[in-house]
């Protein structure tokens, strides 16, 4: 099967991006190198192609009620704001994590994980209690870039029709970027930095890429590949669906209680999550620092020779210069300071639970 390409494919090739098959998409894993790209985003600003993400719209008078029924967060922000949330099965397992953009009472945009595009669209469609809501999968109609880092506002402001300094964190506005009308600009991201994610109508999107690169020249902006996207999100303990969370894990276990509003009116999975909270969690997703080697997904977590859990993500943290990992452990071991061992390809590495997240932006 041919790999899917985003409108920025030729720019990736021209910039020396190393292209890989990423869930059926031909995307760059790195350009200059993961470490250098990571540090550029932490210190200034970087540009990401995230066009593989999915965009689903709910439109109609019942859109707000429909999304509130589907997700764990309250979606109680005013129009023009977004919320990070999860969508659960009736048993509390996570269908996906996503950002809900409340464009208007009757127009909700949800941005879902690339690998879950079809599954989420079906789930939303099937669990749409309001006949007055149109659920439309517009994933093929939108390209998406992320401009991330403390200098993202300065870069993007110089080529946007709206004053982005007036857009608060998780704010969302419509406007044009580099002359392309009909864009949706949101102060959201997946790096732990300030920054923006911009939805671009796919026709005409290609030219926005070099315009952002040009606008960011003073900041040495560089394109950032999927490799650094992963190290950046992991330092900030942002979830990767399929690794850290999945159909079998609940938001409470994953430390996503803050987006799980158990006191709100009914939502799918609420009963199971209320019960889980009352009974007490058996396991929790924790941040760990690992000695010497990188723990990879599915490495067993051990205590006194017994397997107590499993690693879900792991990498070398360029910021901490330490090996970091996420994994599920029994609640009794979830406290910072707990000593663990991780079985990395047959040999044990010492690990310690540390405070979450690994990285918090200092501004």
């Amino acid at each position: 099967m041919d790999l899917l390409r985003t409108p920025f494919f030729e720019h990736h090739k021209a910039a020396g991006g190393r292209l890989i098959d990423f869930g059926g998409w031909e995307l760059p894993v790195q350009y200059s190198g993961i470490m250098a790209e990571h540090k550029q985003v932490r210190s200034s600003v970087g540009l990401f192609d995230v066009s593989h993400m999915g965009e689903v719209f709910l439109r109609g008078p019942g859109a707000l009620a429909a999304i509130r029924h589907l997700v764990t967060n309250a979606i109680d922000v005013p129009n023009g704001h977004a919320q990070y949330t999860a969508m659960c099965h009736p048993n509390g397992g996570i269908v996906d994590d996503l950002i809900v953009y409340r464009l208007a009472d009757d127009e909700i945009l949800v941005c879902v994980n690339a690998a879950n595009r079809a599954k989420d669209f079906e789930w939303i469609r099937q669990n749409n209690p309001e006949g007055s809501v149109a659920v439309v999968n517009e994933s093929d109609d939108w390209a998406q870039i992320a401009v991330q880092g403390r200098d993202a506002e300065a870069v993007l402001n110089s080529i946007s029709s709206v004053d982005l300094s007036a857009v608060p964190s998780f704010g969302v506005v419509r406007g044009s970027v580099a002359g392309l009308d009909g864009c949706i600009l949101a102060r959201t991201g997946y790096t732990g930095e300030d920054g923006f994610e911009v939805f671009l109508p796919v026709d005409g999107a290609a030219d926005v890429w070099p315009a952002v690169v040009h606008a960011g020249a003073d900041f040495n902006i560089m394109p950032i590949g999927l490799g650094a996207r992963d190290t950046l999100r992991l330092e900030a303990k942002l979830m990767l669906y399929g690794n850290d969370i999945n159909d079998e894990t609940t938001p409470l276990e994953a430390g996503l209680g803050w987006i799980t509003k158990l006191d709100k009116a009914d939502f799918i999975g609420k009963d199971a999550l209320v019960r889980q909270k009352a009974e007490g969690l058996r396991r929790r997703l924790v941040c760990m620092v690992v000695e010497k080697r990188i723990a990879r997904p599915h490495c067993p977590i051990m205590v006194d020779g017994e397997v107590v859990g499993e690693v879900t993500s792991g990498t070398k943290s360029p910021t901490l210069e330490a090996n970091i990992a996420l994994g599920y452990v029994p609640r009794r071991l979830a406290r910072p300071g707990s000593r663990l061992q991780i079985d990395i390809r047959g040999r044990l590495a010492e690990a310690e639970v540390v405070k979450s997240p690994f990285y918090k932006r200092p501004y």
Binding site: V29, Q30, G33, I34, M35, G227, T231, K292, R293, I294, R296, T315, K316, N323, R345
Partner: protein
Amino acid sequence: MSYPADLKYTQTHEWLRTDGAVVTVGVTWFAQDSMGDVVHVELPEVGDAVSAGEPACEIESVKAVSDVYSPATGTIVEVNQALEDAPEDVNSAPYGDGWLFRVAVGSTVVLADLLDADAYETHCAG
């Protein structure tokens, strides 16, 4: 990209330099470039027995873990301890400070299937 003419190469992207009965082993420019930023090298220990074509060492990059296959059968006589603190040398100097280990072979070295620099470069391009 560079493949010094005085080295021999394997299809699995190791280089070797033969000095009497001792073979010095590292990974090629192509290998380190494919792996990306190297963050840890799990070296063998001096005295370990290694076999040609078997994994002898592990190189960990941010992206992945790669096995390094010993191109020779023999005993490890030296490992590059400096990589413990500077694993990035594998990237910056794959044929120099980024060498990995030295193997003492029993007699005159005769290793099958080795490539010279030109043949190796052709192998990478294919």
